[in-house]
C-alpha cells in the first residue's frame, strides 16, 4: 500500500464503520461496538505504518493525493490526503487515544439506550477529525471542521432527554458556528487576495502545498493588511474549536456528554483541532506580526482565566474541563510565540494525560454510580486503587512534574515564552502553579480522606422536588436484561431503592419496576452533573467500586503513555540527537519546499525555565495539600473571604456566560422579534393586507353598481353601446378614410 492509500484507509475506516452501524447494526450492540473499535483500530494500524514510513531518521517526506471535488468558474475545490510529520503525529494521537476511549466506552456505556447511536457518532467524529488531520487544503479542512462540530453536537446532546445536555450541544454548535463564520471569511479573503495578487505561475488555490511557498516569497507585500486579517479570521475558527477566550464558553457545558466523549473530544483531540489548524496553516501567520500577538495574548488569557475557574468547580469533570481550557491556552500561547512545534508537543502529551484524567473521572463516576460531585467523594484511593494511581500519574503529568510527559512539553512552551515575551512567561508560570494547585485539590477531594458519599445530607426533602420525575419515565430496564452486567458486580453493591426514595419517586410506581436497583444507567441524568446543584439528596446507592477491566485497560495504557510521551521531544543537551518531534515537524517541508514553520533555533533545554516551572508546580501541590490534604491546616473559607469579590467573579466564570446570555436574550432575540413584528404587523398586515383592503374597498364600491336589477344592467350596457357608437362615428368621421 502506498502511504496515501494508508492515509485514505485511516480516514475512511471510521466512516465505513459509522455507516455500517447506522445502516445495519443499530439493534446489535456487540456488533456496533466491534465495528467502531475495528474502524478506529484500522486507523491506528495504518497510522503506525505511516509513521514508520514518514518519520525516519532521515529527511521527512511529504506525500499527497488529491482529486477534484467540485470545480466551477475557475475555482477548484479539491479533496485529498496530505501525509507528513504533522499529520501523522496528529493521526497517531487521534486514533491512539481514540482507540483507548472506544474500548473504555464499552464498559462505561453499558446499558445505555442509544448504544449503537453512540458508537456511530463516535466513529463519525473520528472520521471528521481525521479529515482535518489529513486535509490538503483550506476548504477540505473547513468541511471536516464543520463535521467535527456536528459530531460533537450529536455526542454532547447524547442524552437528548436531558434539557441541559441539549442546551449544551446547541451552545457548542453555535459557538463553533461563530468561529466557522470567521474562518469561512478568512479562507475566502485569503483566496481572493491571492487571486487579486495574481502571482505569475501560481493559480489561485486553496491547497496548502501550492500557496505556502507564495507566502514565503515576499511578493505579497502590497496585500499584507488583507492577508494578516485573513490569517486572524482563520484563527477565529481555531478560537472556537480550541475554546479560546472569548469563544470558550461551550467547553465546560460540553461536559454534559458521556464522559468518554468528554475525554475524546473535549479534552484530547477535537479541541486540539484549533491548535492543529494553526500549525497546519502556520505559513498564513508567520509573515505577520499582529495576528500572532493576538493569538499569544488570547492564549495567555485563556490559560489564566480558565485556571482560576478550575478552582471553583466541584464537578469532577468540570475541573478537568477548565484545566483543558487552560492547557489549550498554553498551546495557543505557544503558537503565538512562534513555536508551533512546542504547541504540537504539548498537544500530544496533553492528549495522553488529559484523556487519561477524563477516563479516570469517568471511572470514578461509574464507580460512584453516576455521582459527579467531588464534595461527596473522597477516599476513593482505597476503593478504586488502579483508577487512583492512573489519576495520580495523569495529575502529576498535567502539573508538569519531571520526568512525566507534561513536564517536557510545558517546559518547551515556557522556554519559548521566556525567550519571546516576559509577561507571558509570568502568566505561564502562574498557570503552572495554579494547574498543580487545582489538580492537587481535585486529587485530595476525590481520592484521599474519607468517603463522603454515604452520608445523608440536609435538605433531602427540598431536593426531592427538584429532581424531575421525568428521569424515571425513561425505562430503567436495560441493565437487568443485560447478561454481562452481573459480572461487573453491580448487584453485589446493591443499588438499593432507598436512594430513589430520597428523591421522592415513590409515587411514580417504582415498586412496579421491581428492579430499580439497576436503574443507575437510565435514571437521574437530570439530577446530577451540575456543580451548582447543591448537595444531592442522596447518592445513587451503594459503595464505590473499581471498574471492570474493559475500562481499566485503557487507563493503564494511557497512564503509560503519559509517562513516556515526553520522550518524543527531549531537547538537545539531554538527548543525543534531541528534539525528534521538532525535527519531524520542522523538517516537514525541508525537502519539498520552503518550510511552513518559521525558522527557529532548535529547542534546547533551559535549566532556569525547568527549575522555575518545577518550583511553581511543587508550590502549587504544597498549597493544595495545605488546603485540602490530610492536614487541612489552611481554611478554604478564610481564603475565599480574604480575596473578596474576586471569588464571586470566578464563580460567575468571569461573566462570560452572562454576557452571552445577555447578547442572546436581550440583543439577538429582540432583533428577531422585531423582524417578526415587521413581517407580521408591517409587511403582512399593513402593506400586503393593506393593498388587499384597498382593492377590496374598490371592489365593494363597484359592486354597488351591480345591484341585482336587470334594468340597471341594461342601462349600463346601453350606455356602453352608446359610447362605442359615439367613438366609432367620431373617429370614422375624423379620420381621412370614409
Amino acid at each position: 500500500m502506498t502511504t496515501t492509500a494508508l492515509a485514505w484507509t485511516t480516514l475512511l475506516a471510521p466512516l465505513v464503520a459509522a455507516a455500517l452501524i447506522a445502516c445495519f447494526t443499530l439493534k446489535h450492540r456487540a456488533l456496533s461496538a466491534a465495528l467502531a473499535v475495528a474502524g478506529i483500530g484500522t486507523g491506528l494500524v495504518c497510522s503506525v505504518a505511516m509513521a514508520f514510513r514518514i518519520l525516519g531518521p532521515g529527511d521527512p517526506v511529504r506525500e499527497m493525493h488529491e482529486f477534484t471535488w467540485l470545480a466551477s468558474g475557475g475555482v477548484t475545490l479539491k479533496f485529498g490526503v496530505l501525509v507528513d510529520g504533522l499529520s501523522v503525529l496528529m493521526s497517531l494521537v487521534v486514533t491512539g487515544i481514540g482507540l483507548c476511549i472506544f474500548v473504555f466506552s464499552n464498559g462505561y456505556m453499558k446499558g445505555e439506550r442509544g448504544w449503537s447511536r453512540y458508537f456511530a457518532c463516535l466513529s463519525l467524529f473520528a472520521f471528521s477529525m481525521l479529515g482535518i488531520v489529513f486535509s490538503t487544503n483550506l476548504v477540505e479542512t473547513f468541511i471536516f471542521w464543520e463535521l467535527v462540530g456536528v459530531s460533537s453536537y450529536s455526542l454532547i446532546g447524547y442524552y437528548f432527554e436531558r434539557p441541559s445536555a441539549v442546551e449544551a450541544s446547541k451552545k457548542a454548535f453555535l459557538t463553533n458556528r461563530i468561529g466557522d463564520f470567521g474562518m469561512t471569511c478568512g479562507i475566502l479573503l485569503t483566496f481572493f487576495t491571492l487571486a487579486k495578487a495574481g502571482i505569475p505561475g501560481v493559480s489561485p488555490s486553496f491547497t496548502f502545498t501550492e500557496i505556502a511557498p507564495v507566502f514565503h516569497s515576499g511578493v505579497l507585500k502590497p496585500f499584507e493588511a488583507d492577508l494578516a486579517l485573513g490569517a486572524f479570521l482563520v484563527f477565529t475558527g481555531a478560537m472556537a474549536k480550541s475554546a479560546q477566550v472569548p469563544l470558550h464558553v461551550w467547553l465546560p457545558d460540553a461536559m454534559e456528554g458521556p464522559t468518554p466523549v468528554s475525554a475524546l473530544m473535549h479534552a484530547a483531540t477535537m479541541v486540539a483541532a484549533g491548535v492543529y489548524l494553526v500549525c497546519r496553516t502556520y505559513f498564513l501567520f508567520a509573515p505577520y506580526e499582529w495576528p500572532l500577538h493576538v493569538v499569544a495574548g488570547l492564549g495567555g488569557a485563556t490559560a489564566f482565566f480558565a485556571a482560576t475557574m478550575a478552582f471553583t468547580a466541584n464537578d469532577v469533570k468540570k475541573v478537568l474541563a477548565y484545566s483543558t481550557l487552560s492547557q489549550l491556552g498554553y498551546m495557543t500561547m505557544a503558537l503565538g510565540l512562534r513555536s508551533p512545534s512546542a504547541a504540537m508537543f504539548h498537544l500530544t502529551t496533553h492528549a495522553c494525560f488529559k484523556a487519561l484524567l477524563f477516563l479516570c473521572a469517568g471511572a470514578v463516576i461509574y464507580g460512584c454510580h453516576h455521582e459527579q460531585d467531588m464534595r461527596r467523594m473522597g477516599g476513593l484511593r482505597k476503593k478504586m486503587p488502579v483508577t487512583a494511581w492512573c489519576y495520580g500519574i495523569g495529575a502529576l503529568a498535567l502539573a508538569g512534574i519531571a520526568p512525566l510527559s507534561g513536564f517536557w512539553s510545558k517546559d518547551a512552551i515556557l522556554g519559548a515564552a521566556s525567550g519571546h515575551s516576559k509577561p507571558l512567561y509570568v502568566v505561564g508560570l502562574c498557570v503552572a502553579f495554579m494547574t498543580a494547585c487545582y489538580m492537587g485539590r481535585a486529587w485530595w477531594m476525590t481520592f484521599m480522606g474519607e468517603y463522603r458519599g454515604g452520608e445523608a445530607h440536609a435538605g433531602d426533602a427540598a431536593h426531592a422536588h427538584a429532581a424531575p420525575a421525568v428521569a424515571h419515565a425513561a425505562p430503567a430496564v436495560h441493565a437487568s436484561h443485560d447478561p454481562g452486567h452481573d459480572a461487573h458486580g453491580h448487584d453485589a453493591h446493591g443499588h438499593d431503592a432507598h436512594g430513589h426514595d430520597a428523591h421522592g419517586h415513590d409515587a411514580h410506581g417504582h415498586d412496579a419496576h421491581g428492579h430499580d436497583a439497576h436503574g443507575h444507567d437510565a435514571h437521574g441524568h437530570d439530577a446530577h452533573g451540575h456543580d451548582d446543584h447543591g448537595p444531592h439528596g442522596a447518592h445513587h446507592g451503594g459503595e464505590p467500586q473499581e471498574v471492570p477491566w474493559v475500562m481499566r485497560g485503557p487507563l493503564v495504557v494511557l497512564a503509560a503513555l503519559s509517562v513516556v510521551a515526553g520522550l518524543l521531544n527531549i531537547p538537545a543537551p539531554l538527548a543525543a540527537h534531541g528534539a525528534h518531534l521538532e525535527h519531524w515537524l520542522m523538517g516537514t517541508a525541508a525537502k519539498p519546499g520552503p518550510s511552513w514553520f518559521p525558522e527557529a533555533p532548535p529547542e534546547v533545554f533551559h535549566w532556569d525555565v525547568a527549575i522555575g516551572g518545577t518550583i511553581a508546580a511543587l508550590l502549587g501541590i504544597f498549597i493544595a495539600w495545605k488546603f485540602h490534604g490530610a492536614a487541612k491546616s489552611w481554611s478554604v473559607d478564610r481564603f475565599v473571604a480574604g480575596i473578596g469579590p474576586v471569588h464571586g467573579w470566578v464563580e460567575r466564570k468571569w461573566f462570560f456566560d452572562d454576557i452571552y446570555l445577555f447578547l442572546v436574550k436581550r440583543v439577538q432575540q429582540p432583533i428577531a422579534d422585531f423582524c417578526g413584528f415587521v413581517e407580521k404587523r408591517f409587511l403582512k398586515e399593513i402593506v400586503v393586507d393593506g393593498i388587499a383592503v384597498v382593492s377590496h374597498w374598490f371592489g365593494r364600491q363597484i359592486r354597488l353598481l351591480l345591484d341585482g336589477h336587470l334594468h340597471t344592467y341594461v342601462t349600463m350596457a346601453l350606455i356602453g353601446v352608446l359610447y362605442l357608437f359615439v367613438m366609432l362615428f367620431a373617429t370614422a368621421h375624423a379620420g381621412p378614410g370614409r
Partner: protein
C-alpha cells in the same frame, strides 16, 4: 428512446394526468400508484437525461432536441423542446419530489388532515402541476413556457384551498388566495417582459415568433435601454416566485397551509421556477439588464438571507420556521444569480436542487407527525424523538442539511454562492451570507431542540414512528442529499457547463465591463 426523451418527459406526467381522470376514485391503490409510477418513470427519464448530460456534455443534450414545429404559425408558437444541464438537474429534482410526494401521501389514508378525502382530485391537480413544471424546464418557446408556468402555478390554489390546514395561524383560504394572487401577478409582470421581447424580436426578425432561439437571434439589435427595462419586468415577475424580499410574504404561509405533498411540491420545486426562468430567459435575452440590475439584487438577497432567518427565529409554528428558512435560503440563490459569476450561478442552480430535496424532506417529515399530532406549534411539541426516533433522526439530518453542514448538498452549493459573491466583489454581501449560516443554525437547532429533544412527553405516547415502506421516501431524499453532498462534482459539472455560456454572455456586455473594471479573472477549470 433517447431521441424522444424530452417529449416523453413532458408526456409522461401529461398522460398520467389524463389517465387520472379515468381512475376509479374508490381505488386507493390506483389513485396513489399512478402518480408514484409516473414519478418513477419521470425519475428514470430524468436520470437518463442527466446521464447524457454528464457523459456527453451540452453537445449531446443539444442533439436530443426534437425538430421545431410550428403550432400556431400566425403567432409564431412553436413546439420546441430543449434541455441543458440546468434543466436536466431540475428535472431530476422534480422527479424526486414527485415520487417522494406521492409515496408520502400513501400514508395519509388513515387520517383526515392529509389528503384523506378526494385523493383522486388531489393527484389530478398534483400531476397537472408537475406537467407544468416539466414544461417550464423543457420548453424553448416563450408561449409554451409561459403556459406551463401558469399551469404549474394555478393548481396550487386548489391544492391549498381544498386540502389545506385550517389552523388560525395559517388559514388555507387566505394562504391560497395570497399565493395565487402573488404568483399570477408576478407572472403578469413577467408577461409584459416576454411580450416586449416578442414584439421587439418581431420587428427585428420581420416575423412573429415565440421561439427563444429567434429572440436570441435578434438580441444583438436590442439596445441597452430596452434590455434594462425588459429585464426589470422579467426579473420582478420571476422574483415573486423565488421569492425575493419583499415579495416573499405569500411563501411561508403558503407552505404552512398546504398539505404535505403540496408543500413539498411547492417549496421543493415551484419556488425554483423563478430562478430557473431568470437564468433561462432573462439572462440570455437581456444580458445588459442583468449586468445593470444585479448589484441591487445582491442587496435584496442579503435582506432575504438575514431577514428571513431572523423572522424564522421568531416563529413558533414548525412549518413557518421552515417556510421562512426557505425564503432565507432562496436568498442564497438570489445572491448567486446576482453575482453574475459562473460559480455563483452554478451554486444557485445547485442550491435549488439541494434546497428542493431538503425542503421536501422537511415538509414530508412535518407532515408525518402533524398527521398524528394535529399540532405543529413548537412549544406544544417536545420530546418527540422518544416516540419517533426514526423521524426525529431524519429531522435532525434535515436540520443539519438546512444549516449548511458539509456532507449535504446544501453546504457545497451555499459555499459556491459565497465564493461567487466574493469573487464578484460583493464582499459584504458574502460576509453577511456567511453569517446567515449562523442564523440558520440558531433557529434550526432551536426548532429541533424544542420539538424533538427534551424529556418524553406522555401526550404523544400514541404516535407511531415510520416503519417499513413508510421510511422509503425519507431515506430516499436523505440519500440524495448525502450522495450529492459527499461528491457534488458530477452534478456541478453538468450545471457548470450549462451556466457558463449564459453567464459569460452577461460578462461580455458593455454594462458589465463598466461596472466591474477590476474583475478578478480566474483560470477556467481544466476538465
Amino acid at each position: 428512446m433517447d431521441s424522444s426523451l424530452l417529449e416523453l418527459l413532458i408526456l409522461v406526467p401529461a398522460v398520467a394526468t389524463a389517465l387520472m381522470f379515468f381512475v376509479p376514485a374508490k381505488s386507493r391503490a390506483l389513485v396513489v400508484g399512478l402518480p408514484a409510477v409516473a414519478g418513477a418513470a419521470c425519475l428514470a427519464l430524468s436520470l437518463r437525461l442527466f446521464w447524457i448530460a454528464s457523459t456527453g456534455g451540452e453537445a449531446a443534450l443539444a442533439k436530443l432536441a426534437p425538430p421545431v414545429t410550428a403550432i400556431v404559425p400566425s403567432f409564431g408558437v412553436h413546439w420546441a423542446l430543449g434541455a441543458d444541464g440546468m434543466s436536466a438537474v431540475m428535472c431530476v429534482l422534480t422527479s424526486i419530489v414527485m415520487l417522494a410526494g406521492s409515496l408520502v401521501s400513501i400514508r395519509s389514508e388513515r387520517t383526515h388532515t392529509g389528503i384523506g378525502d378526494r385523493p383522486k382530485v388531489f393527484f389530478l391537480l398534483f400531476l397537472g402541476l408537475v406537467t407544468g413544471v416539466f414544461g417550464v424546464f423543457l420548453f424553448r418557446d416563450l408561449f409554451l413556457f409561459y403556459f406551463s408556468y401558469e399551469l404549474a402555478v394555478v393548481p396550487m390554489y386548489m391544492l391549498i384551498g381544498m386540502w389545506g390546514s385550517t389552523q388560525a395561524t395559517a388559514n388555507k383560504d387566505y394562504a391560497a388566495m395570497k399565493l395565487t394572487l402573488y404568483l399570477t401577478a408576478g407572472a403578469l409582470v413577467a408577461l409584459v417582459g416576454l411580450l416586449a421581447l416578442y414584439y421587439q424580436a418581431w420587428q427585428i426578425n420581420g416575423k412573429p415568433s415565440f421561439l427563444l432561439s429567434d429572440i436570441l437571434a435578434a438580441r444583438a439589435r436590442f439596445d441597452a435601454g430596452f434590455q434594462i427595462w425588459t429585464y426589470a419586468f422579467l426579473f420582478i415577475g420571476f422574483a415573486a416566485i423565488i421569492p425575493m424580499w419583499p415579495l416573499h410574504t405569500w411563501s411561508p404561509i403558503g407552505h404552512a397551509a398546504a398539505p404535505a405533498a403540496g408543500s413539498m411540491m411547492h417549496a421543493g420545486v415551484l419556488m425554483k421556477l423563478g430562478a430557473f426562468a431568470v437564468l433561462r430567459i432573462a439572462y440570455p435575452t437581456c444580458p445588459e439588464g442583468a449586468a445593470h440590475w444585479m448589484p441591487y439584487v445582491a442587496l435584496l438577497a442579503m435582506m432575504n438571507i438575514v431577514y428571513g432567518g431572523l423572522v424564522a427565529m421568531a416563529q413558533q409554528d414548525m412549518k413557518f420556521v421552515i417556510g421562512f428558512s426557505s425564503s432565507s435560503h432562496m436568498g442564497y440563490t438570489l445572491l448567486g444569480l446576482a453575482s453574475v459569476e459562473v460559480i455563483g450561478c452554478s451554486g444557485s442552480v445547485f442550491l435549488m436542487f439541494a434546497h428542493g430535496v431538503m425542503t421536501a424532506l422537511a415538509f414530508s417529515l412535518i407532515g408525518f407527525f402533524y398527521d398524528q399530532t394535529h399540532n405543529r406549534w413548537i412549544p406544544d411539541l417536545g420530546g418527540l424523538a422518544h416516540q419517533l426516533p426514526f423521524v426525529g433522526t431524519c429531522f435532525v439530518f434535515m436540520a443539519m442539511a438546512s444549516a449548511g453542514v458539509p456532507g449535504f448538498a446544501n453546504f457545497a452549493s451555499e459555499f459556491m454562492v459565497m465564493v461567487g459573491a466574493w469573487k464578484a466583489g460583493f464582499v459584504w454581501q458574502a460576509v453577511v451570507s456567511v453569517f446567515g449560516v449562523v442564523i440558520g443554525a440558531v433557529y434550526l437547532l432551536r426548532a429541533v431542540r424544542d420539538a424533538f429533544f427534551g424529556p418524553r412527553n406522555p401526550r404523544w405516547n400514541k404516535l407511531h414512528d415510520a416503519h417499513g415502506l413508510q421510511r422509503v421516501p425519507f431515506l430516499f431524499m436523505l440519500a440524495v442529499l448525502l450522495a450529492t453532498g459527499f461528491y457534488p462534482r458530477p452534478v456541478t459539472d453538468v450545471i457548470d457547463a450549462a451556466v457558463r455560456p449564459i453567464v459569460q454572455d452577461v460578462q461580455r456586455t458593455k454594462t458589465y465591463r463598466e461596472k466591474y473594471p477590476d474583475r478578478i479573472e480566474l483560470a477556467e477549470a481544466q476538465r
